[in-house]
């Protein structure tokens, strides 16, 4: 099983505890609160992901040969969803990130947040993450 798949299953398991929407969202918000956020130098328009209602910043990087992400948002729910994405994708093999279908949002009843018409910036963030990983993966393949 892939790293991402394992992490997704873990999250699905975790969310299966919640029957109430409020508990679910509170859990998401708490995850956001624990997110380390991004380095201040990255809080610029260059690292801002397009979204119309809430804003998202994404700081990609390479550490020890793997793709890592830091991210932040100005809205609490979006920040929690951002934290969820970072938890699933950051540090996973680049090729896996690029190809990840990310179905877990559907499995935890949050698919609507990833619909392309949602204006929270999450879709664009995931797209950016995948592009970054894909670029790194092709570079890796080239060199090694």
């Amino acid at each position: 099983m892939s790293v991402i798949q394992e992490r997704e299953d873990e999250i699905v398991e975790e969310f299966s505890m919640f029957d109430e929407w409020l508990d679910k969202y509170q859990h998401i918000i708490e995850m956001g609160q624990k997110l380390t956020g991004i380095d201040e130098a990255f809080r610029t328009d260059d690292y801002k992901v397009k979204g119309c209602q809430s804003q998202v910043w994404l700081q990609p990087g390479i550490e020890n040969g793997v793709v890592v992400f830091k991210a932040d948002s100005d809205a609490a729910i979006t920040k929690g969803l951002v934290a969820l994405m970072v938890r699933v994708l950051s540090g996973a093999p680049a090729k896996e990130i690029a190809d990840a279908p990310l179905e877990f949002l559907e499995r935890i009843g949050l698919r609507e947040h990833l619909s392309p018409t949602r204006s929270n910036g999450l879709v664009s963030m995931v797209k950016q993450m995948k592009l970054y990983a894909a670029a790194y993966a092709s570079q890796e393949a080239h060199h090694g």
């Binding site: 409020l22 969202y25 918000i29 119309c52 209602q53 809430s54 809205a75 609490a76 979006t78």
Partner: protein, 414 residues
Amino acid sequence: MPVFDAGEIASIRSRFPILSRTVHGKPLVYLDNAATSQMPESVIQAVSEFDRTRHANVHRGVHKLSQEATDVHEGSRDRLAKFLNARRREEIVLTKGATESINLVAHAWGRRNLRSGDVVLVSELEHHANIVPWQIVGSENGSIVVPIPALDDGSLDQDAFQKLLDGAKGPVKLLAVQHVSNALGTIHPVKEMVAAARSRGIATLVDGAQSVPHMPVDVQDLDCDFLAFSGHKMHGPTGTGVLYGRYEVLERLPPWMGGGDMIDKVSFSGTTFHEVPWRFEAGTPNFTGAAGFAAALDFLEEIGMDRIHAREAELVAFAHRELSGIPGLRILGTHPDKAGVVSFVMEGIHHYDAGMFLDQMGIAVRTGHHCAQPAMERYGVTGTIRASFAIFTTESEIEALAAGVRRVQKVLGG
């Protein structure tokens, strides 16, 4: 004395099928009427009856269905002319909405009449639909878009307006101003503003998208050259709208879009155009929508625009009372003249989070910049939470909103 008794409101509500649905398992509290209002059964019926029995292209066929469809379509023009107290039916151009109406004026009138350095005077609170078309035309001919500043209470700075009219930023050729702010709800004194512009020979366009659905609007009284609005904000189907144009002005305008229905004679050596208003209605129009639009006007007139306006004023006052007691909540737009909109921000709570939570409680509000980013900038916010009312809105729905807001605060700790 309330404008309506509870029984009357209940009976109005029962005419809107959508109001009986649930959202996330809770009864729907629909407070997003400024974006799109709901359709009563009679409008839904009119559309479906048309589709079942008369669906055919208009103006083009000699056959019975086409004739009936044309009667319905042109009949909606008559209804609209009467609704607005237009001098003649030819002053009503049927469009797909306020946006198309304004773009029509920008392209047909603006391209012909605006020159480099000319000023199109808008307000700082304008919907993007009344900013961007002027910028597009301006990028071609060098005309500029200048905003009338807004004051802290959500009204427009009338002193600044006078100075701008007198040429403070260049010669003003057009006043293109909203009647009611969709972001804040303020009703602007457009009749006086139009008169001031006209006395200087300046053309006038009123964006009535948020006024025509909520109060009596009489184009002869307003005396503007153009008035734009949308059917879907006044209990009609989407894809319907109006550009009212003073006949003498419309008559002198070239067409904007070309196609079928708008021509007199077409040949490769030259084409002549149909008369007003059909010259501006290229292509097959939304005749199904027109059937529903006419039914929506029947609904509004049956209740009475005066009473609708009075009722919504009551609801706004009630909402102000309910919401202003909530600590950390700030209402934007406190001018006493307001149509059915209450916009607010909550300390420490992002509007997106609030909107998401209210949605989970079955409450539909709009969050964000409301297509009025300059207005948001003016008040130093990135967005607001906006509740907007209709004739079917009740006090208890507003109480539900207030309770929802308090709950949001509790969860998000604003």
